[in-house]
Symmetry: none
Subunit: 414 residues, 2 copies
């Protein structure tokens, strides 16, 4: 297994002034060509720190990918530090100089000596042209290990990686093949899921690893298979998926990059069916999840955020008696909300949520986190009671995800 | 200067499966209390890697902050690895057990042995209660250096840091006094803001630094004063705020942690006034921003997500002629949406948005990013046309923030 370390150089990342989106992108790309990232590090624009991390990384990894610190200004010292590390010196690379010059000519901007210096490369490096900016990429080899230095500007780095470096890495290390399969679940906690599939997990073949990735209201199961033959890995992984699905089918709403709102949207679009929402405690968040998907206007007609009881009555026609006897947070209320919004907006499905999002407003009978959800369809209306925690935003997010999942199950009749 | 290293543990980050938002947040917070992050590292759920990075970090830094690998499942090994590193063993901490238990009791869910094990702590650690999840925080001291282990779930980590760990670090290391003052603006770009206050910025005293923090539709100006006397720092900072405000008053909607939705909410509550929304392109996001504030039910009555034209007509009473002649994305339509929702829900204000969020659906006359917003009040209705970019989620967020700011200005008569 080829091992990689990704090193980010720059004070601005160290101090939290800018978000580092590079390392995630790089390690994803490396994973896809079968190179395993064993460590990511960020250090400042400081010679000692850079020399130290380079030496550490060279001991551990086969390939070291470095981004940042290649700008024309004094505080960017990556290139001179690499010279020191490899005990070499800079020279002006004519090809690089021509490219940098053309870059300024195109923009009708004068070129300074600082810019000219961007064409200076360490003598032991292979020049990797950067057609997207003025800082060249550099490729170093030593004792079968590879060092790559790239600009930190995400757009330039990604272009360099995609067009030059990733292919170069694949041919240099005849890399192993990696295959990922993600199962996405809603409605079961990480530990309950783990207990349910423990026997299966313990029996996984050694070349397939399992990871639990929990996020609001969901747990994703990621299978990672490593080997040499992609088709075989896909077969092996699918075999394990087929084994585990019977244990958790009720909770699996999708695979890989699926989100619950995209899964539900796809179902509605395929069937030419439509949806309307009646939201109380979720306050518009369910509608937002649905409408942030491009093309959602094909199946989402709209909804009512019925926050006050008046709006529940006037805009939806929820019965005053129900609100008086059962209360706004009740099965009867969410049933009426879902059915009425479905009728009024003339959609295939109407979905609703009403509850006590918190942090206050709870009672002994209905503590904070008590939430009712409902899905009204052509044939019937189903409801579910949720008992969540005391954190408002979490309750809103959980409820929205559970409600969309209840719709999915209703549409599939499971 | 106290030096810190931030270590993230988890294969899912190494493989690029999830975005690491923790380390940026942590290093920003550390900077704020005068602790300098000298390195950030991510390693996998692998004992040797964790032991190695801990040993390295202990040599370099005064405080080592560790997130991740504390889940109940088999792949999470941070706790046992910390035991190995400190040559100690786990014991069940009764306080932690009580908290974990109550967490499940509240939700009426059974507790598994795996969950019980989350209350197991290394004997040499100080227990830091986690009121936001089931994995406790841990504080270790050795030779005047501090190790902190926290769960990787951002929401839990941030709560632990804010309420327990940052204060504990400040008192342990007696760090320099730092005072922050944030000015929050909407409606002016970073570079225009910079030009407007250039002279003031250049004249800032050396112990006060300025940072521009742009985020969707907003630019925050952060003043950071460093010294020994908090009262003095507050006075100095306020003096600078008083100097700059006349230049940018029109754009400043709040200070420090203010969000536009909280500022508007406070105004409405103070005045005993109410609000309703009529959303097309924002698809419920405006209502979500308003209702994620606790107590918003006091002033937010509800709204209509009028995504289709039918809903605009039926639920809001927008005139079919207007939709036919001016179109759904027009000044006339948003005026009617805002005024009708205000009338129907009997609120002091009605606000509306209609536009082409993208990525498709644009025309030559109305390209993607063309958005109209309106605020209807007791006296009059104001509108604004936005010409945004081609990114759907960005357009939704920008529009929502601009609409709430338009409401704020209307309420204040500015």
């Amino acid at each position: 297994m080829v091992k990689a370390e990704v090193i980010t150089i720059g004070d601005e990342i160290l101090f939290g002034q800018i978000t580092d989106t590079n390392t995630q992108w790089i390690s994803t790309e490396l994973t896809n060509i079968g190179i395993r990232t064993i460590r990511k590090s960020s250090v400042g624009d400081n010679e000692d720190s850079i020399l130290e991390i380079l030496a550490e990384a060279e001991k551990r990894a086969d390939v070291i990918l470095i981004t940042g610190g290649l700008g024309p200004t004094k505080d960017d010292i990556t290139k001179t530090t690499l010279c020191k590390y490899f005990d070499t010196e800079l020279y002006i690379n004519e090809e690089a100089l021509a490219l940098v010059t053309s870059f300024f000519v195109k923009r009708g901007r004068p070129m300074t000596e600082l810019n000219r210096q961007q064409a200076a490369l360490p003598k032991n490096s292979t020049y990797i042209p950067n057609h997207w900016g003025t800082a060249p990429g550099m490729w170093f080899e030593r004792n079968g290990k590879v060092f790559v230095s790239m600009p930190g500007v995400p757009f330039e780095m990604k272009s360099l990686m995609t067009h030059a470096i990733l292919p170069k890495l694949q041919s240099f290390f005849k890399t192993a093949v990696i295959h990922h399969k993600m199962l996405r679940t809603i409605g079961i906690g990480e530990s309950f899921l783990a207990e349910r599939i423990e026997a299966w997990e313990d029996a996984l073949p050694s070349h397939i690893k399992l990871a639990y990735l929990p996020s609001f209201g969901q747990v994703r199961l990621r299978l990672t298979a490593t080997g040499t033959d992609l088709a075989q890995l896909q077969k092996d992984t699918q075999a394990e998926v087929d084994k585990v699905m019977p244990l958790i089918a009720n909770f699996v709403y999708g695979y890989d990059d699926d989100e619950i709102e995209t899964v539900v949207g796809k179902l509605l679009k395929e069937r030419g069916q439509t949806l309307a929402t009646a939201e109380s405690c979720t306050g518009g968040y369910v509608s937002h999840l649905i409408t942030k998907i491009p093309g959602s206007s094909q199946y989402f007609m709209g909804g009512v955020v019925s926050y006050s009881n008046d709006v529940k009555m006037q805009q939806l026609g929820v019965s005053p008696d129900t609100l008086a006897t059962d209360g706004a947070v009740s099965e009867q209320t969410v049933i009426q909300m879902a059915e009425r919004v479905r009728q009024r907006l003339q959609t295939t499905y109407g979905i609703s949520a009403s509850g006590i999002a918190g942090p206050d407003g709870g009672s002994d009978q209905k503590p904070v986190g008590t939430i009712w959800i409902a899905v009204a369809g052509p044939d019937n209306t189903v409801t579910q009671k949720l008992q969540l925690g005391k954190f408002r935003e979490q309750n809103i997010q959980f409820t929205s995800v559970y409600l969309l999942n209840l719709l999915r199950k209703q549409m599939l009749g499971i």
